[in-house]
């Protein structure tokens, strides 16, 4: 019986190998950009720092943080709680009321996204473990314009590092199920 040997594989000509090499990294690069979601515009040039300055806390707008898996992006009604009438002369602020008048929601783009095979609960991390938002989201409260990419890129190493540091269960099935 004859077994196929490595030598019997078709020899790649150098140009083909180079083309394959370039293609591999080009595709990889596209996938990375896709994951980072760097090509987007938020509906409003939202200023986190300004809101925090005026005593608005994270949970006032991201209402799901303490009770749900999703932190939630604010619905327009949440904005209108304060912005029903003009607080400033900002054109960006006026966009809230014109969207509300048209009966539309603001199409916020979720900047921090986990891979689809990762299960994460904000409730567990915020209400149970009392983690500060900045631990994962970086100094978002200091940003004056919508960030084009997450302040911190969340990798599995970052998750596991924190879990081990705090002696918390780091079972695979807790996040991958």
């Amino acid at each position: 019986m004859k077994f196929p040997r490595l030598g019997s594989l078709p020899n790649l000509t150098p140009p083909a190998a180079v083309a394959g090499f370039i293609l591999f990294f080009a595709l990889g690069g596209t996938a990375f950009v896709e994951l980072q979601r760097s090509n987007f515009r938020q509906p409003i040039a939202f200023n986190h720092a300004k809101h925090v300055e005026n005593g608005v806390s994270c949970t006032d707008c991201h209402t799901g943080v303490e009770t749900q898996a999703q932190a939630t992006l604010p619905a327009i009604d949440t904005c209108l709680n304060c912005h029903q009438t003009a607080l400033t002369s900002s054109a960006e602020e006026a966009k809230i009321r014109s969207a509300a008048a048209a009966g539309k929601e603001l199409a916020w783009v979720q900047v921090t996204q986990l891979a689809p095979h990762v299960f994460f609960s904000h409730r567990r991390h915020v209400s149970v473990a009392h983690l500060a938002c900045t631990e994962c989201h970086g100094p978002i409260e200091k940003s004056t314009a919508p960030p084009q990419r997450p302040w911190r890129v969340l990798t599995m190493n970052a998750c596991i590092g924190c879990h081990q540091q705090h002696g918390v269960n780091a079972d695979c099935n807790d996040c991958h199920r």
Partner: protein, 238 residues
Amino acid sequence: MPRWGMVIDLAKCTACQACVVACQTENNVPCVPPEQAARGRIISWISVLPQLEGEYPRLTMRPTPLPCVHCDNPPCIRVCPVGATGINPEGVVRQIFARCIGCRYCTNACPYTRRMFNWYRPEFPGEFTEALNPDVSVRPKGVVEKCTLCHHRLQKARDQARAQNRELAEGDYIPACVEICPAGAMYFGDLDDPNSTVATLARGRRAFRLLEELGTKPKVIYLAQGEWSGGDGQGART
């Protein structure tokens, strides 16, 4: 740390298949067309095996619900070339779907045949797509899947217990199959807690494990059918 285990009383099981259906819906187990199911490509994390005993006309059927038995010494994890499966400190044999390359070594290594391969893109008829459990992933084509003892339920039960500032109590966390069993034939709990229901039942004289001789040390324990219904000689009724 608990060591989760299940006890199934074969004297009580009526083979109603409620556990099978509950598991399918709880864990987003895809439906397989009948012709493919006939080729052995059906996926069901728990099945009720019709074990026949005796010969016609003295024939009895002993229905045996068989989930993954979560061996303490699992043969499946030793053959995985990519570390997609393992056993966690609480004794649950887990499968990381995103890491699985679909080589199916584990499906062959499992003596209980409790690992299933996704031969197709998962399909759910009509309304089922709206009823998928958001706590569990829908596995893609080409990966092996298995019972997780409803791990997501454990996490939710732990969160609830922490929110109420108490320890996890017996009965807080039970898998869907145990919860649904209308005959009350299935018990679930911590085998390491000597006072738990499962540990008490597992010590009884009716208790046995499937393919015990292989040394897999399964944590699903069966109670044999029998007319003997007394205590265990130490005051406890089993």
